[in-house]
Every structure is written in C-alpha cells, then in structure tokens.
C-alpha cells in the first residue's frame, strides 16, 4: 500500500546525546591527562594541539565548501577537535609546527572526508595522520623529551623557546637538539632487551618509575580516569577497552612469567606508550570499530595482541597505531562473521 510517505528504516527512537555532546565529553575526559602532560613535558602539547586544531577546522571547512555542503553544523560538532587532540597526544612535544599541521590535513581530508565525512571513515583518522607522519618523517617523529622530574637531568625549553622552535626552527644559543631529546622508556626497553640487558636492569634506570616510564605513567593514570568518566557517561562501551587491555596483558604476563629477564613486565606494557590512550580513546571510535559486542571484543583483543607483538618483535617501539589501523581494515570481515542473530531465524 503506497502512502506517499518515505519511511526511514528502524530504529525510530532518537538519542538525547548528539555528536557535539559526545565530542565535548571526550575533550573533557582528555583534559586532566593533558594538564599532567604539560606539567611533565612542557608546552609542546598545547602548541601542537593549537596548530592541529586550527588546521583541522580550516581543512574541514575547505573540503565541505568544495563539496558544496554547509559548514556550520559540521564545524561545530567538535569531531575535528577530537581528531586534533588525539593526534597531538600521539606526537612528540618538540616538533616543528608543520608536523601537526600536515598530520591534521591528512587525517581530516584523506582519512575522514574522502570516505564521506563524519560517520563514514573506514580508518581512525588520527591514527592515519600519525602513521603517515611516522613513516614519512621518522627523524622528527622520534624526537621525544624526558619528563621534568627531580633526579633526571633534563633541560626544558620555556614557552617562548618552544614557540620559537615550533614555528621558526630555532633553538636558543648553545642548545643542541640532542641536549633536549631523550629516548622514551619503550625505546630503551626495546634496544636494551635486544642488546642482551635484562629487563630488571633496564627498569632501574632513571627514566623508569613504578609501573611505566616516569611522567608517562602519570599521564596514563589520568587517561584511565578520563576513560572511566567516558564509560560512566556511556560515551564508550566497556568491550573495547577491556578486551584491548586483556589482549595486551595476557601475552605480556605469559612471556614475563616464562622469562622475566628478556621480556618487559605486564604492568610496564599497560602503563607505557599509548596503551591506555589507545584502549579508551583511540580504538573506541565507534565508526571504525565493529558494530556488535562480540565483534568489539575480538577487535580489541586483536589490537592488544598486535601491539604486544610489534612492541616485542617488530621494528617500531609502540604498536598501538598500527594495531588499530590493521584491525580497522579487518572490521568489515569481523562484522560479517559476528552478525547478531535475527529474532526468529536460526
């Protein structure tokens, strides 16, 4: 019977939580960790975020204009800001300004809008931008700095020093880039285990704290806090964080129990690098993750396993970004084989 009306498919209920609110909540959840990050590692994060955010919004507006779409709603929904925020968390604090800018453009234009825009991306945009930068500019992307903590000898740039380096590429007199940069705890562990040091030996180093690296473990703690806030507000669901951390924890524990000298401890893996950020903020992007709960469990677990494998046997110190992208590619297959059963049909 034709009624002359076009009926959209079910469900017809509307959620009270729209995209802008979800994005705002993610930014709130990141704020405590960001403050801690700035406390330990200086103003680099803020500068990178500013550059990335501006570039993200400008490029999003430009692409929408080119497609003849309206820009007001899209620019105000905060999704570009979230991408910029996650990208700046992934970048080293001390990078030239064109790095977050370029990464932002790639993330927003290529990974998001070429596939259709919000809700249509196949891959996590922030991770595409990050991996693109990591592969294309390995030198700049591996310039990490040590945290500002009592007994580590570090030298930190002032705010103006950071701005000057970021935008003009100049460092203050008598300061070389090598004085400022230091390897990350993950780097140290990878190199150290490869050259036959024991993990216990490496852990005694000045850059290592109680669980992970000094400073880094505090950032990870506050990321977890932010993640718990997101779980509490229902912005993310528990399947992906829990399965990702389990997928990382299980092999880490197994190998550590078998040979504690040659493998990093499980708590080191949990609180180092981007494990927590990936578990609560990156892998939980609902668009590039599977649609069913069972699928999400598989997805998270595989990301955890891939991260452990890349950290232990691969060439890169941290595998979260690659793990997320690889599993993003597998999502259509996961969805196909974890289709929920339709009521009434076996």
């Amino acid at each position: 019977m034709t009624t002359g009306f076009e009926l959209a498919p079910a469900p017809h209920a509307r959620s009270l939580v729209g995209v802008p609110l979800m994005m705002r909540r993610v930014l709130y959840a990141l704020a405590p960790a960001a403050i801690t990050y700035v406390w330990f590692f200086g103003w680099g994060l803020v500068i990178n975020f500013a550059v990335a955010a501006v570039t993200a919004l400008v490029s999003e507006g430009a692409v929408l204009r080119l497609r003849g779409r309206r820009t007001r709603v899209a620019l105000n929904d905060g999704s570009a800001l979230v991408t910029a925020a996650l990208l700046s968390f992934a970048l080293p604090p001390l990078v030239p300004a064109w790095i977050p800018a370029l990464g932002s453009v790639v993330a927003i234009v290529v990974a998001k809008h070429l596939f259709g825009g919000l809700g249509k991306n196949l891959f996590n945009p922030a991770m595409v931008g990050y991996v693109f930068l990591l592969v294309s500019f390995p030198v700049e992307m591996t310039q990490w700095i040590p945290p500002r903590m009592g007994d580590i000898d570090y030298m930190q740039l002032s705010f103006s020093g950071q701005i000057e380096y970021s935008f003009l590429g100049r460092l203050p007199n008598a300061v070389d880039i090598d004085t400022l940069t230091r390897a990350t705890p993950l780097d140290i562990v990878k190199e150290g285990l490869r050259s036959a040091h024991s993990f216990a030996q490496l852990r005694g180093g000045s850059l290592f704290g109680d669980f992970g690296g000094r400073g880094w473990e505090w950032v990870a703690n506050l990321i977890v806090l932010g993640g718990l806030y997101l779980l509490y507000t229902g912005t993310i669901r528990w399947q992906i964080p829990v399965s990702l951390l389990a997928g990382l924890l299980l092999p880490a524990t197994a190998f550590y129990v078998l040979d504690a000298d040659h493998y990093a401890a499980p708590d080191f893996h949990l609180f180092s690098g981007a494990s927590m950020l990936g578990a609560f903020f990156i892998a939980t992007d609902p668009v590039s993750a599977p649609a069913s709960d069972r699928g999400r469990l598989i997805y998270g677990a595989c990301i955890g396993l891939l991260t452990y494998a890349i950290r232990t046997w691969g060439g890169y110190p941290d595998g979260i970004a690659f793990g997320v992208l690889l599993m993003n590619a597998a999502v259509p297959l996961i969805d196909r084989y974890t289709r929920p059963r339709i009521y009434g049909q076996g």
């Binding site: 080119l66 497609r67 290529v110 990974a111 809008h113 070429l114 596939f115 259709g116 825009g117 249509k120 196949l122 891959f123 595409v128 991996v131 693109f132 592969v135 891939l306 494998a309 890349i310 046997w313 691969g314 060439g315 890169y316 595998g319 970004a321 690659f322 793990g323 992208l325 690889l326 993003n328 590619a329 597998a330 999502v331 259509p332 297959l333 196909r336």
Partner: protein, 193 residues
C-alpha cells in the same frame, strides 16, 4: 622449522606482495570487489604459485644451472608459470568439479599476475632450497589472500559511503589500499628477508 615459519611470516606480512612490494596490484584490485571472489582468486593463486615455485626450482637447478643457461631464467620461468596454469586448470577440471567451480574462472587471470613471476624470480635470486621455496610461495599466497580479503571487505563497506564525486570508483579504492599499505608497514622488523 622456525626458519621456515619465519619465511612464511616474512612473505605474508612483512614483505606482503600486494601492499608492501606492490606486485600483483592489478589482480588484487580486480578480484577484490566481493569477498567470495577474493577468496576464490587467492586460492587459485596459491595453487598455481606453489606449483610454479616447485617446478621452477627443478628447472632452475637441473637444467639452467647444469647447462649454464642462467640467462634463460626469465624466459623459462614464464614458460613454467604457463605450464603450471594449464596443469592447475586441467587437474581441477578432471579431478574435482568443486575445485573447478571455485577456481575455474580465476586461473587464466593469474597469467598476468606479476606477483607470481616475482615470487619465482625472488626464490631463484635468493637460492632457496626446494622446501624453503615452497614455503615462500605459500607465504606469498597467504599474504596475497589476506590483502585481497581485507580489500574486499573494505570495498563492500565503501559502497555505503558518501565518497566525493571526483573520487568514486578506482580512486577511493587506491586511497584505501594506500592506507592499508601504511598499516602493513607496522610489520617491519619482524623478519629479515
């Protein structure tokens, strides 16, 4: 055993033929429109590739090297691949209608798959043993199949996307394959080959 396993991992993931070495991109993009087609193509390629690797090893060692005819390598390998194709075609037709139905239409397409020639040439250049050559071919086919399956899934999902007009069709598929290649770079360092 561990060495053979490493060869498989290296050929399938670290040096994936489609996504890292960019060989066989044409059949990969051609056969990845739907998942069923992708699996059929991957199986057919695996069959032909393994046969061709074995045969080319025999030809290489017992004919070319014995009679110092190494300059005929390229020619003879292309012939061997053609023979393997025909073998696979005839065998599947006579012995297994199921196999014929599954692989039939794809086998002729493998003639133009440069990854097959690539595997055979690389085996010869690295002077692999017979068993190692077979494992390398198996790994290469696994990697080819994996790339095909992933691309097929992504392409099916792309059909529901809102791709800009200028990028619809092959363009967005290439962008997707490119991002997939970026992701596969995460496997560098797992095995040295």
């Amino acid at each position: 055993m561990g060495e053979l396993l490493l060869i498989v991992v290296a050929a399938a993931l670290v040096n994936n033929f489609v996504l890292v070495q960019f060989l066989g991109v044409c059949p990969a993009l051609g056969a990845s429109r739907r998942l069923e087609g992708a699996i059929g193509m991957a199986l057919a390629t695996g069959l032909v590739l393994t046969t061709a690797s074995g045969l080319s090893f025999l030809v290489d060692h017992f004919v070319l090297q014995r009679f110092e005819l190494q300059y005929l390598r390229l020619l003879s390998f292309v012939l061997v691949i053609g023979v393997s194709l025909q073998l696979a075609n005839r065998l599947s037709r006579s012995f297994s209608p199921f196999l014929q139905r599954l692989l039939g239409i794809y086998v002729p397409l493998i003639a133009s798959n440069c990854a097959v020639l690539g595997v055979v040439l690389l085996n010869s250049a690295a002077s692999r043993s017979f068993v190692a050559a077979l494992f390398y071919a198996a790994g290469a086919s696994l990697g080819f199949g994996l790339a095909l399956a992933l691309l097929a899934g992504l392409r099916e999902r792309l059909q529901h996307s809102d791709v800009p007009l200028a990028f619809r069709g092959p363009a967005i598929v290439f962008v997707t394959a490119g991002i997939l290649s970026l992701a596969f770079l995460g496997f560098t360092g797992f095995a040295r080959l």
